[in-house]
């Protein structure tokens, strides 16, 4: 599985309810972020959780989110960020930005 995104890319976490084990937290679903780096490619935990091989390996990215994007209506430091590791299949390009 090749890496679709590069550092600096604007991405959006897919919305939607996962069926079963999922490592994309609900509070980030549908949120816009930026790729910080590609960690590498790893077996899919959503499949490993059911003792399936989880192949092909999925690219895993460090994604940073602006605080205000994640928590509308709340305040923190002006440039505070939430950073999470998200698998490629949970990300879509966000070309509007």
């Amino acid at each position: 599985m090749s890496a679709r995104f590069s550092p600096g890319d604007a991405v959006r976490v897919r919305a939607g309810e996962p069926a079963g084990h999922c490592r994309t937290p609900h509070y980030l679903r549908g949120k816009r972020g930026r790729v910080v780096m590609l960690h590498g490619s790893y077996r899919n935990p959503e499949k490993l959780a059911y003792l399936k091989p989880g192949l092909p390996r999925q690219p895993l990215y460090m994604i940073e989110f602006d605080y205000a994007e994640v928590w509308a209506g709340r305040q923190s430091g002006r440039r505070d960020r939430i950073v999470a590791d998200i698998y490629q299949h949970w990300l879509e390009a966000d070309p509007a930005r």
Binding site: E17, G20, H21, C22, P25, H26, Y27, L28, P45, L48, A49, Y50, L51, V70, W71
Partner: protein, 106 residues
């Protein structure tokens, strides 16, 4: 619907910083899980542990201690994987009750 374990951003009280040394129970459960998920044995995966822990209903997820949830997951997954059976486990529990839980490891 947000799953029980998916806690980011949920309302919650102050952080309680009190702690205690791991008990022998904690240590044994911790060690069992690590041995069972080691690549050389691979009875199940850490991901499967998480999946199992996440399936506790809220009263248990928040009411059981951390390692009791791990223990429940080890039980479920060793049965799921056919390493132990419900019947064997019941029989063993009855046998331990009968002989007394002296806590001494074999």
């Amino acid at each position: 619907m947000r799953a029980v374990h998916d806690l980011g951003g949920e309302p919650a009280g102050p952080v309680d910083r009190s702690d205690h040394e791991p008990t022998l129970f904690d240590q044994r459960v911790d060690a069992m899980m690590r041995l069972l998920t080691q690549p050389s044995r691979a009875v199940f995966t850490v991901d499967a542990m998480r999946r199992s822990i996440e399936s506790h209903p809220p009263a248990e997820y928040f009411g059981l201690t951390y390692y009791e949830k791990w223990l429940h997951a080890v039980r479920r997954l060793t049965i799921e994987q056919g390493v132990v059976s419900e019947a064997e486990l019941s029989a063993k529990i009855d046998a331990i009750r009968a002989r007394g839980t002296d806590g001494a490891p074999r």
